[in-house]
């Protein structure tokens, strides 16, 4: 069953087109990442899905219903906004207990969710006294109070330190595994999404440029990737770039990812050692690799741009 069905959504702010004919579905129990550059239309899409914005065109259904002013579906959705704001002068635990009463769940759940995000020590603190990272954790706890079937999060891990990010992603995986909660996660931090997402929607200029299971997208956009590890990345990269059958190339601390014309992988395996010998670089490893989420994102955007 599809929890979210968005068809041909469009939204403009004056002359600025934020979303233009966007279609998307999110299935029960899935973890879908929404990735795209700044201004791509991610937040506008999320707001239309949550019923905060009315689409100019198109239809969005959440749990089969129109999300605009629909209290019935809100009991099944947990929301984490990019910038979280709560009544500032209330204490964290007290406010979450209030939220428990709103959703009709036991007040003991308030402490449970605070513990889940490691915020139990701030249970007696006023919300206004929380740091940006703590406020973000609090927003996540707030979204989990009623054990929603769907969690929509816009830049959920913003403001969090690496350890907290990692712990939070574990929580996402755990909720997805144990409670079959579905997630729609928008993030700029692509490695995080690759850790938890099974599907990805790449949004650019208000449209979905690529959407599907991660494995399908890798198959479609990231074939012909070969990873070369070397002690002299920059010099070797320059040499490899000169090869005519190389379509794209990226370097990071792990080495060089080379994308070649389909069928030319073997030639690269032969050419790379020769080039390394020429510049006296040492090859530490060469293997057919899978693209990182970052590479996938660039490949998908690049493929679409070329069209």
């Amino acid at each position: 069953m599809s929890l979210i069905v968005a068809e041909n959504l469009a939204k403009s702010y004056g002359r600025v087109v934020a979303v233009d004919g966007l279609s998307l579905t999110l299935d029960e129990g899935s973890v879908t990442g929404l990735i795209g550059p700044n201004g791509a239309g991610k937040t506008t899409t999320i707001k239309m899905i949550l019923g905060l914005l009315k689409p100019d065109k198109g239809v969005v259904k959440v749990f089969g219903q129109n999300p605009w002013d629909n209290p019935a579906i809100r009991s099944m959705i947990g929301v984490v906004y990019e910038k979280a704001f709560f009544p500032a002068h209330q204490k964290t635990l007290e406010y979450l207990q209030r939220v428990c009463r709103i959703f009709g769940v036991s007040e003991s759940r308030a402490m449970e969710v605070l513990e889940l995000v490691n915020l139990q020590e701030a249970s007696d603190r006023q919300i206004k006294a929380l740091s940006a990272g703590m406020l973000q954790k609090f927003a996540i706890a707030h979204a989990l109070v009623h054990s929603p079937k769907l969690i929509v999060a816009d830049e959920m891990t913003a403001n969090l330190d690496p350890q907290a990010r990692s712990e939070l992603l574990d929580v996402v995986l755990q909720l997805n595994r144990d409670e079959k909660a579905a997630f729609l996660l928008s993030s700029h931090i692509l490695p995080e999404l690759s850790r938890v997402c099974d599907s990805v929607a790449i949004i650019n200029r208000g449209k979905v440029w690529a959407f599907g299971k991660l494995s399908e997208l890798y198959e479609k956009y990231a074939v012909g990737i070969i990873r070369v590890s070397t002690d002299s990345s920059y010099a070797l990269e320059a040499e490899i770039r000169k090869l005519k059958y190389v379509k794209g190339l990226e370097s990071d601390i792990r080495g060089i990812s080379v994308r070649v014309v389909e069928g030319k992988e073997d030639e690269l395996y032969e050419d790379v050692p020769k080039l390394a010998k020429k510049i006296k670089a040492k090859i530490l490893g060469i293997e057919t690799g899978s693209a990182s989420m970052q590479e996938l994102y660039r490949l998908a955007i690049g493929a679409k741009e070329r069209k």
Binding site: K47, L50, G51, L52, L53, K54, D69, P71, A72, R74, S75, I77, G78, V79, Y81, K83, A84, F85, F86, P87, A88, H89, Q90, Y95, R98, V99, R101, I102, F103, G104, H142, A143
Partner: protein
Amino acid sequence: MGKGKPFLEVLASAIHEDFRFPFLELFAFFYALGTFALASFTAILSAQITTNEAVAYSVTNSLISGSLIVFFILILKNVAYGLGSDLEKGIIQTYFSYPLRRRGILTAKLISAIGVSLLLFLGIQISALYILAPDIVLPQFGTVILTYVANLSYPLLIAALMLLMTLKLRRGGIGLVVGIVLYVAMNIASGIAFFVAVATESPLAFQILSVISPTYALQYHYGGLSGVSGVFSVPWVPTLSETLLYTGASYVIVASLFVLGYIYFSRRLNL
């Protein structure tokens, strides 16, 4: 899950924010100060008031005059600043994640912003009336109620306009400035209306003003009853029915503006 629970919790949360320490205590003090210490009975003592209704009106009016400004400041704070900053910061957005209709959220915010302020105002006022003038006021309860209803019309009109501006612009500061300007403008307009009425020997200007602030119609109705008149007086003594009509008309305008606010909040407000 009970249907009323989310509404009550959002209301409690809004009241917690609007009346956090020391606002409730401070405004209760100012209300008491305005009611008990700043009430002006000079006009009543010096006037040749001839009817019981006029006496009840004058006593009630003199009590209201000292603390109506406090009520006005409180709704300025809560509607323009409170609701405005909730919209601006995203707290309304957070409330929208709860299983409650949009109109329920606005009602909770308005009850907190205006309803609680009104209860505080009326609670202290009625206690004061009961303590200070039970013999005059209790037999003329209808007059007392009418005086309150007429006096509250204009602040509520300003509150409704501030609500619309705050919702449209999502900037509490602008609503706040507009509210203050409107409050001052009414005092200036009544001064101008007085000169126009005296110069033209026509009450038209006051009749127009009475549609948005029926306290003028009430003032001239009881002024006529009491026989109070100065060297320059407005040639207008509206009947009680006319006064009620002006009061009704003013509340139709207030109610219409609030309904507009509700429609906008429920159907149009994009966050």
